[in-house]
Amino acid sequence: MTRQLTGSPAAPAQALPALQRRGRWSGRTRRDFFVFLALALPNLALIAVFTYLPLINNMYYSTLDWTLGSTSATVVGLDNYVTFFTSSDAPQVLGTTLIFTVVTVGGSMVLGLLVALALNAKVRGTTFARSAAFAPYVLSGVGVGLVWLFIFDPGYGVLSWLLRGIGQQSPQWINDPQLSLVMVIIVYVWKNLGYCAVVYLAGLQSLPKDVMEAASLDGANGFRRFMSISVPLLSPTTFFLLITTMISSLQAFDLIRIMTPLGNGTSTLIYEAYLQAFGAYNRAGYSAAISVVLFAILLIITVLQLRFVERKVHYS
């Protein structure tokens, strides 16, 4: 037990190796240790049971040829990974995941920053505008998906009605796989840019006013102040948003499930994993392998971000 704790970042645990070397614990250290256990163990137990155990289980299932619903399976080693990476689906799924992630992360952050700049202005009605901008983020993805489906419906949707008004036919948003992806991306960005806007707004409001005033006195215009002062000083916020929105995008599910149940053109890694196991195919082992691929990608992206992107972040 104590060996595991030596690796913990918690302060009481850091003191343990030295004490162990001395071979005894003082009364206070022992008391601190029990307090640490009492506070941390319930959370650690929950994380272990509901995060790490399923993760390990999933890795094990990825080595099986297992049909969901069947009580037996065959161990196939890395066959599921080989099947995925050599199938014609892999480039399509990975490509869709890449497009969806890049566009939704980029779109949410850029539009979120623009909205935040607008919301930061000292004019009447900004409180209402801030609430309105954030509202879509807290709405249910299922509800949002259903409403937007009605808007995009080429037969009797609101968009179709507007387009007919100017003599245009509605595009086949739902049946055309490429347009389906565009449709889902638009809705995803609309739903999530409020989150980026609020976080950026907090960042903008914490920028030091004296630096801005000094730059103004030196003759820097608004754009120059924004590019040379605001953007660099917002880099911790940008870095935080980059990590959280990228993870959210790679895990996006509800809108895709509601708006394009077959995943035709919108099958990202996570949706493909769902379709393979819980859709029509019931390939639980294969689905687990796709999930592991997604996990590995998330892990690599996060490590790369922490290692390289964070270097460019100005914390003060």
């Binding site: 155990l53 390990i56 040829d65 049909t67 969901l68 009580t71 009797y156 035709n264 859709g279």
Partner: protein, 449 residues
């Protein structure tokens, strides 16, 4: 942050990894035997007493929750010792299948009776998830000869009966009588698609509707309704276990469908639900399930006509597939629960109850002796569905027996009908996919069973 991995750390990590792997192996499926199921022999229910209660998992096909509950109430008046818990286990056949499969994996919370659709029951059979009903049919004296033969035969495999028909449907041809009248067309469904192709321009010119015909939504069982086109042209998704969706006949059939959209421009493809599009007046005709009949009659603001599915150049009749759902009993519950569920299954499928179910939903009565006089007096269109039953055809193996085939068919149909993809190339790809699914997921299990 630097980590020194000495020998002790390495051994510790290795131990942790082995422990984790061992822990993971404790759950999930067994890897000690064959993945294939074996057909259980007849189960002996002698001396078994029915359980006091069981769950009935349903998706309420055809918005049938109220009629299901009323049949349950009648059952409990007759069998007060058996409580039936009506459980909404999903909004459609796929969701209920998902829940059922997940419960199988978790080995818990299984129902006594479950709704299973045409494309799912065979998978339950190959996985050993459902029991054969032959012993229970005999013990409870279920009048199997009184069921519609084609409907009950759909659930027979390896000389056993794996389910009984419940919310059974066929596709129907729906048409807007007002549009037909305005176009000067006869008040009937077309006999063939060629005849309809002649009618379509007249309909488009006079009706004001966007389309003369709308193909059903591709996410809504495209593989089911497109069998009508394939069979009419002498093609199919498969013939037995031979996958011939790339045959000249099949390709010609789907090329004709593509031309109706892109060349002749009188047809479209529904985005969500063809029955809703039809009711909304977007199209003059469509094909949809008999289970949509009452909904369409209720929501349409015009006179609705229904008819048999049109034939094609090679076959004018027997071009309508059966479909819909049956009821099965899981293998993972106790014999007591299975017997209680079978007692209710017998009651649920009795003539007066199947007539009541049909009246409430538009699904076909599954019993020959069901008295439909009152139902037909109220909704005469149901008679068309009943009459069409005589000219239905069992679905292609590829659609109903291959896991995920319906989805692959929908994707192929999307390429052809919404992206104007090359028909021959798309069907050749589909054939390869279907053969792959058969070889990997079905063939080994058929050999073992």
């Amino acid at each position: 942050m630097a980590m020194n991995l000495d020998r002790r750390n390495f051994l510790g990590l290795a131990g942790l990894g082995v422990g984790a792997a061992a822990l993971a192996a404790c759950g999930g499926p067994s890897t000690s035997g064959s993945a294939a199921s074996t057909s259980p022999s007849d189960i002996d229910f002698t001396g078994v007493k029915p359980a006091g209660s069981f769950d009935f998992w349903t998706s309420h096909p055809g918005q049938s929750q109220a009629v299901e509950q009323s049949i349950i109430d009648k059952f409990q008046a007759k069998f007060p010792d058996i409580k039936v818990n009506l459980v909404t286990a999903g909004a459609n056949y796929e969701e209920i299948a998902q829940k059922f499969q997940t419960s199988q994996a978790a080995k818990s919370a299984l129902p006594g009776l479950v709704v299973l659709s045409d494309v799912w029951w065979f998978r339950y059979y190959t996985n050993g998830n459902i029991i054969p009903l032959d012993g229970l049919i005999k013990q409870l004296d279920v009048k199997i000869d009184d069921f519609q033969k084609s409907l009950v035969a759909d659930y027979q495999y390896a000389n056993k009966q794996w389910a009984l028909p419940y919310g059974r449907s066929t596709p129907l041809f729906y048409y807007n009588k007002d549009h037909f009248k305005a176009a000067g067309l006869p008040d009937r469904a077309p006999k063939t698609w060629q005849e309809f192709a002649e009618w379509a321009p007249k309909l488009q010119a006079s009706s004001g509707a966007k389309y003369a015909y709308i193909y059903p939504a591709l996410a809504g069982y495209a593989g089911w309704t497109l069998q009508n086109n394939l069979w009419g042209w002498g093609g199919s998704w498969s013939n037995g276990w031979t996958f011939n969706c790339d045959s000249t006949e099949s390709v010609t059939a789907l090329q004709w469908a593509q031309d109706s959209i892109y060349k002749d421009k009188w047809a479209g493809v529904s985005s969500k639900n063809a029955a809703d599009d039809f009711s909304a007046g977007i199209t003059s005709t469509t094909i949809s399930s008999t289970g949509d009949l009452l909904g369409v009659l209720k929501s349409a603001k015009f006179n609705v006509g229904v008819g048999f599915l049109p034939g094609g150049p090679k076959a004018e009749t027997n071009v309508c597939p059966t479909g819909g759902a049956g009821l099965g009993i899981p293998s993972g519950v106790s014999k007591e629960v299975q017997l209680a569920a079978a007692t209710f299954l017998k009651f649920m499928t009795e003539p007066e109850n199947t007539a009541a179910f049909s009246a409430a939903t538009g699904y076909m009565p599954t019993r020959v002796s069901a008295d439909m006089t009152a139902v037909l007096a109220k909704t005469p269109q149901i008679k068309t569905a009943m009459d069409q039953l005589a000219v239905t055809k069992v679905q292609d193996n590829a659609r109903v027996f291959l896991p995920g085939a319906d989805q692959e068919m929908a994707k192929a149909a999307a390429k052809i009908l919404t992206q104007q993809g090359d028909v021959k190339a798309t069907m050749t790809d589909l054939k390869a996919t279907l053969e792959g699914i058969y070889t990997k997921d079905v063939k080994p299990k058929l050999k073992a069973s």
